[in-house]
Every structure is written in C-alpha cells, then in structure tokens.
Subunit: 145 residues, 2 copies
C-alpha cells in the first residue's frame, strides 16, 4: 500500500472513531478508493436520521486538493440518492476540517478541486457535530408543531 493510502486510512479511522464517540452510527465503506465501479464515500455517519457522507483526503498537491472526476461524480450521485450531505474531510498539520462538497470547483478536465485556504475555512469536527444536532432539532420542531 502506498504512503498516501496509509495516511488516508489512518485519517478515516480517526474520523470514524471521533464520530462514534459523539454518538454517531458510523461505517467505513468497504474497498474504498478509486478502484470501485460504484464509488461510495469513505465514511457514512448517521445520527437521528441525519446522514453525513464523508470523503477523506490527506494528500494535497501544491496548495490544492483534488478529487478525481469519476470518484466525485460517483459520490455526489450517492449523496443525492441517499438524501445525505456530502463533505470533504481534509487534514492539516494540526487540525482536520470538513468542507461541504458543493464548495469544490470543477476543473477544465472535469475533476473537482478546492484550494487549501478555502478548505481551512471548513467546519471543525465539533462544528460538524453541532450542525447535525441543529438539523435534528429543526426536524423535531417541525414534528411537534
């Protein structure tokens, strides 16, 4: 396994473990990576009916983070069907951030990209958990009303 895959895998396990601690039901996609014909986001985390789909990226190339076209289209389609919300998880030296996938831009080649500076403005893990909990309360309010 390449170093990049090892790093991505360790980051995945870290994200899974932290979200479990926060009360999420979490599953890592089997055989994650670019070889699947039917791409699935690396991590699926659910809490009280809210679905988070998380693609994990530990590799950065010259200040930009790329997701290959086939993978990006596949996981966007998966997110659309599921009704869940798709995030890109990016690791920086001292923190990890979760960026809404819709903030990525499409490159001329059809790949998806985001600049590191933009990714840094993403949510922390605690922000993400609070976001899910706020969605959940809105759901409850609707139900009670």
């Amino acid at each position: 396994m390449s170093n990049v895959k090892v790093r991505a895998s360790a980051l995945e396990r870290y994200v899974v473990s932290r979200l479990r601690e926060k009360g999420f039901a979490v599953v890592r996609a089997p055989a994650s990576g670019s070889k699947r014909k039917d791409p699935i986001p690396d991590v699926i985390a659910m809490k009280d009916g809210v679905i988070l789909l998380i693609e994990v990226k530990s590799k950065q190339t010259e200040g930009t983070i790329y997701v290959r076209k086939e993978q990006a289209l596949g996981i966007m389609e998966f997110a659309r069907k599921s009704g869940g919300e798709l995030f890109l998880c990016v690791r920086f030296p001292n923190e990890i951030r979760f960026v809404e996938f819709s903030k990525l831009r499409k490159t001329e080649g059809g790949n998806y990209a985001i600049d590191v500076e933009v990714a840094k403005s993403g949510l922390t893990l605690n922000d993400l958990v609070r976001y899910v909990e706020s969605k959940r309360s809105i759901g409850l309010d609707k139900f009670i009303r």
Copy 2:
C-alpha cells in the same frame, strides 16, 4: 469460508443489487459477521433521507431463525443511534422477506429469534420499497405544511 457464510454473502449481494436498482444508495458493512466488536448491520440502504438497516440471514434451524445476543444488541444500538429502521432479511426457497426486527422475541439465553412462519408474513422487497417511499411522502407533506 463455511457454506453458511457463502450463502449469506450471496443473499447480501442480491439484496444490495436489487435495492440499487430501486434507486437506493447502498453499502455493505465491511467485515460483516459475528467477529466484530462493534456489530454493524450487513446492509445499509438510504433513500431520500430514509435509512434502512438490514441484517441478512440465510440459515434456519428447525423452523426458527436466530440472531445471536451480541449481534442483535449491537445492531439494535446502531439502529437507535442512526435513526434508521432495522429489518431482518430472510431467504425462503422462492422468495425473500423483510421482517421488522422488533418482531423478534428474546430467548431465555438473551438471543433473538423468530419463527419461519412469522417471518413469511414479512414484507417483500417491493413492499419494503413502497414503505420507504410512503415514509418519504409523509416527510415531504410535513415540510410543505
């Protein structure tokens, strides 16, 4: 791999494939089976925010289907956290049925069991899909109101 595991795996793949055809975002749990410390249902299928968690059973013992205590408690906990609905998928010679997990009874030893005759009254795959679609419309109604 034992014959039982091979049969269960083929049934899992069949269920995954049929639900994908019906427009679900589907993932098989990695390393499914009884060896996990943190049991996860065999199949997770999502559509428009509705979460189905499916435990697949191809083995029957003298007219009764059993789910071991640790596995049953683990997947019930997973379902509770996720806000999804847990079903047992049972294969009969000419059909498969989906039974709400709450219909299983607890045995004296703490395992969970359901008689084949009761399981036969479960939902067909098409019933299950219709059920999910009806839940989804209720959600939309609430939203529009």
